[in-house]
């Protein structure tokens, strides 16, 4: 700081040639103060709401409350090693939660990627009237919070409330959106409704950034609109496609809000339908924090492993493509 003041005392002159090293040192000190100040709040959050909780969950997953004792003040905490992990992994309801997610992904990811990519290509083709309005309407559901989207659709699935079911009933078709085989597609539909426009905007933005020369070359080569779309445009924006796939998969693993709401309405969605619901159930209905922690850690590891694998794979493909 002192050198800065000496600076000011001699206006109009160049920095004192006598000691440039000192000035640089002071500048560096000031810079360090600046970036420490700028980074401190974020780093504090990183530690407090990310590293510490994860560490604590890992720690807790090795312990469990022993209720078999005489019950002084609600039992004591004992070290149980990997027993919670074994319990979670051997619990059919936890494993079936991942099964539901896998089935959900098999239906949801292709639908959302194909749907939003198709719409983005159509909007990019220059054939669509009122393009901005269409884009706005398609994007609208993203502004609807997940729980409210789930409420709306749940009501549209509820007999008596739903105009859709009434419409089908008039044509003598009984349709049950919350039955054994329809409940998962019904959940997929909610996610699709929310995600279609959002992912379309991502694809559309990527398409708009395509170099015009490439498209012109394709046109001169005689490629039609559909061929240009599928064989020229899509391969170039495959990075965005991959990113959408990855985020859809990660989001699918976290599925909670929609099935939690469905759980109130139909017995087809049980209280451990997805891994996150299992965690909630273990912690707050069964009060087993050891079990809930172990399940959280497993879900965390699976999520990280999945995104790591996808990025690695994408990186390798990118490199081999060059």
């Amino acid at each position: 700081m002192s050198t800065v003041t000496t600076f000011r005392k001699r206006p109009g002159t160049t920095p004192p040639p006598a000691d440039p090293a000192r000035t640089r040192r002071a500048g560096r000190r000031q810079q360090r103060f600046a970036y420490v100040t700028l980074l401190a709040p974020f780093t504090a959050l990183l530690v407090a709401v990310f590293l510490v909780p994860v560490g604590y969950a890992i720690y807790l997953s090795f312990f469990s409350e022993d209720h078999d004792g005489l019950g002084f003040g609600g039992g004591r905490t004992i070290f149980t090693g990997l027993r919670s992990y074994l319990a979670v992994l051997q619990d059919p309801s936890f494993v079936s939660g991942f099964g539901s997610i896998a089935l959900y992904c098999v239906i949801f990811v292709p639908l959302v990627v194909a749907g939003s990519l198709g719409l983005a290509l159509l909007l990019d083709s220059g054939l669509i009237r009122l393009r901005r309005t269409a884009q706005m309407l398609l994007y609208l559901p993203h502004a609807v919070p997940g729980i409210i989207a789930a409420v709306i659709w749940l009501y549209l699935y509820t007999p008596g409330l739903s105009p859709v079911i009434k419409l089908f009933a008039e044509a003598d078709i009984t349709i049950d959106f919350l039955g054994l085989h329809t409940v998962l597609p019904s959940i997929v539909n909610i996610a699709l409704w929310s995600g279609l426009g959002y992912n379309m905007v991502i694809f559309y933005a990527a398409l708009q950034a395509l170099p015009r020369e490439v498209l012109e070359a394709a046109r001169i080569d005689g490629a039609g609109g559909i061929r240009t779309a599928l064989q020229v445009k899509v391969p170039i924006i495959r990075g965005s496609v991959l990113m959408v796939c990855m985020f859809s998969l990660i989001a699918a693993l976290q599925l909670f809000t929609e099935p939690m709401l469905m759980n109130q309405a139909t017995p087809m969605v049980n209280s451990r339908f997805t891994p996150n619901m299992y965690i909630y159930d273990a912690a707050f209905r069964r009060n087993n924090y050891g079990l809930a922690s172990a399940a959280s850690v497993i879900l965390l590891v699976v999520t990280c492993a999945l995104s790591f694998a996808v990025t690695r794979w994408a990186g390798r493909r990118e490199r081999s493509a060059k």
């Binding site: 800065v4 000011r8 103060f33 600046a34 100040t37 700028l38 980074l39 709040p41 974020f42 959050l45 709401v49 909780p53 994860v54 604590y56 969950a57 807790l60 719409l119 159509l122 083709s125 220059g126 054939l127 269409a134 309407l137 398609l138 559901p141 502004a143 609807v144 919070p145 729980i147 409210i148 409420v151 709306i152 659709w153 009501y155 008596g160 409330l161 105009p163 409704w193 426009g197 905007v201 991502i202 933005a205 001169i220 005689g222 039609g224 240009t228 990075g239 965005s240 693993l253 909670f256 109130q264 309405a265 996150n276 909630y280 912690a283 922690s293 999520t303 990280c304 995104s307 790591f308």
Partner: protein, 308 residues
């Protein structure tokens, strides 16, 4: 321009071959242009109806009282009880809905303002300064991007219950400030919007580093700030798992959790149904307003996020 110009115009005389037409662009469809145009527009129209109809249903349903909601024709405008529903909504359970609304605004707007300031500052520091272990720390940020907030909810609850913060305002407000994606985005935007020369110039002028950040760089980062703010606003407004885990006092609930509890009450007492419907409608309004007014910002954010 519905018909296409032939690729190579035939030249009757043996003159020099005509140059291929350089224009027009953006008319890539061939002779079947008219039909493909119709099909394309129909597909987009159907998709737009699909996204719009449930929202329209919400709009119409919110004007119905409990009987009409279960009645035959939801899209008719007979029996218009919007104002009844509104006054019922804010009167039910001692005005809980109003409290939830204020809570949501406080969590989302306050959290997004503070949170994006924290993220943008950190992203700027990552972009403009060199320090030891910088890339390692940034690696942690990227890990944070990959880890969804819901995975952290239970671990956060365990820590909060250890230090006695469960069921307080801070139990929800502090965790939502953490936005590693915002840091990533801000670093990207900072390298795009704030030229390094600006920093050097103000260093030569003798301005302090933080002073430069607040007076010059932050202003240049304005659009980026709005982008990060919007992302975070949406995320907090939509947040459901964390408040559900943390809060048991209904007076601290955000809208998402409040409407969820009312919906579970509705299965027992149906008079809650119209309230959930109109409550949902009002809960959508702030985000729509934010998106429409700040439209051009989130688009630039999406582009930045997807190009990288």
């Amino acid at each position: 321009m519905t018909t296409t110009t032939p690729m190579t115009p035939t030249t009757p005389s043996g003159g020099p071959p005509a140059k291929p037409p350089t224009k027009p662009l953006g008319r890539p469809f061939g002779k079947s242009g008219l039909t493909s145009r119709g099909v394309a527009n129909a597909v987009v129209l159907i998709a737009a109806l699909y996204t719009m109809m449930p929202a329209l249903w919400l709009l119409f349903a919110s004007t119905k009282n409990a009987d009409a909601l279960f009645g035959s024709d939801i899209f008719s405008l007979g029996d218009f009880s919007l104002s009844r529903n509104l006054s019922d909504l804010f009167a039910m359970d001692g005005g809980l809905y109003g409290e939830w609304y204020l809570n949501s605004l406080l969590y989302a707007v306050g959290g997004a303002l503070v949170g994006s300031l924290i993220s943008v500052s950190a992203g700027y520091a990552f972009d403009k300064y060199e320090f030891r272990h910088k890339e390692k720390l940034f690696g942690l940020v990227l890990t944070g991007v990959m880890v969804p907030q819901t995975v952290l909810a239970l671990p956060l609850y365990l820590v909060a219950s250890e230090i006695g913060l469960v069921n307080t305002f801070w139990a929800v407000f502090v965790p939502v400030l953490f936005n590693p994606f915002g840091v990533y985005l801000a670093r990207l935007l900072s390298s795009g919007y704030v030229p390094n020369e600006v920093l050097e110039a103000s260093r030569v002028d003798g301005a302090g580093e933080l002073q430069t950040y607040i007076r010059v760089s932050l202003r240049m980062l304005g659009p980026g700030f709005v982008t990060v703010f919007l992302f975070q606003l949406t995320a907090i407004w939509n947040n459901f798992f964390l408040p559900m885990v943390m809060l048991s006092d209904q007076h601290l609930y955000p809208l998402s959790l409040g409407l969820y509890t009312w919906n579970s009450s509705a299965t027992v007492s149906p008079e809650y149904y119209p309230l959930v419907v109109i409550g949902s409608l009002l809960a959508v309004v702030p985000l729509i307003v934010a998106f429409v007014t700040l439209q051009r910002y989130w688009k630039s954010g999406l582009t930045a996020g997807s190009v990288k």
